[in-house]
Subunit: 193 residues, 2 copies
């Protein structure tokens, strides 16, 4: 596996925007069962080792986990405020639940172990999206084991096929499209902004 | 028309995040012709008068204008960094081009007049998404008339049907869903984050 040509650009953007904790927040668009788009903020958790796949996490009980199992196509929109640049990364999502993708379980377990206690706790909260449970104690359960992920915890991978990079600070602006070709090489093209 | 119950929350979030120019940037998800999602950053331009519709602008030559004419369903994801809250606004897009929606032409013209010179100039740049025009002069055309919109300029409206509001700062977190019912009233429900 060779690093895609857009990887160093993402790394550089992350570095130059590191003063903003939310520069690791991206918007993930998926398709609902009824064919309409869904869009929500998720936290970028780094790249999977020896790959160009982006790591996220999700709860198996969430709407997006359901949507992904039906339609795996997705596009992430990532805007970096300090450098005024945008990456649109489209590709296929891979949902690594407790019972799928055996070869990715070590990555799922490692991701769980790297989370903060607060992040892990959310996976034992009441079912997301259901009528609000009024008892505040329901949101203060005992902390789950920090070494072994709970059943609800999923690693979510985005395997990119196309990346559209826009720099608003150019004169006038700069925009490139990177595309994964059948030979697994990435093409690069400058396009009009 | 009565203001939707989530309108004051958006207004308040805009006010409390006004120090960040990019708190008016949102991510707009639409569906491509091939059924896959598309997602990009757009600038919120206020609400249409006497309505709950969000205003954006786009170029008739852009991919999103094409997508919208095929499938008008969309979801905006709007994250406010200072207050750590997210609005997901889903609904139908209305593309107001030079040759459509006669009753919305006054709103289209007014939007054009309110733009900065730099914003207006982009609508007479070479065709977006095509192979980069190398001559920099192509991106420095004479400024278009500031009173009468050019043919490529579209007002884009999002007519909301559902709004999902998440406050990360709550204890634990707070989340509500607002839904437009058949009687044109909005329902409100507290749900689990």
């Amino acid at each position: 596996m060779s690093l895609a040509p857009w990887r160093s650009l993402v790394t550089s953007a992350l570095h130059r925007n590191r003063s903003l904790v939310y520069s690791r927040y991206v918007q993930l668009a998926t398709i609902r069962e009824n064919g309409l788009p869904a869009n929500r903020t998720v936290v970028f958790r780094g790249f999977l080792e020896n790959s160009n796949q982006l790591k996220f996490i999700t709860d198996i009980r969430s709407e997006k986990a359901e949507q992904i199992q039906q339609k795996s196509g997705a596009e992430v929109c990532w805007y970096f405020p300090n450098t005024r640049e945008q990456f649109r990364i489209s590709g296929e999502l891979i949902l690594v639940s407790a019972n799928s993708h055996p070869h990715l379980q070590p990555a799922r377990i490692k991701m769980w172990q790297e989370l903060s206690d607060a992040a892990r706790l959310q996976f034992v909260w009441p079912e997301p999206g259901q009528a609000r449970v009024k008892d505040p104690q329901a949101f203060a359960p005992p902390a789950p084991d920090s070494t072994q992920p709970v059943e609800t915890f999923c690693l979510l991978l985005l395997d990119p096929i196309q990346v559209d990079h826009l720099e608003l600070r150019g004169e006038p602006q700069n925009r490139w499209v990177y595309h994964l070709q059948q030979n697994q090489e990435w093409s690069t093209q400058a396009i009009n902004p």
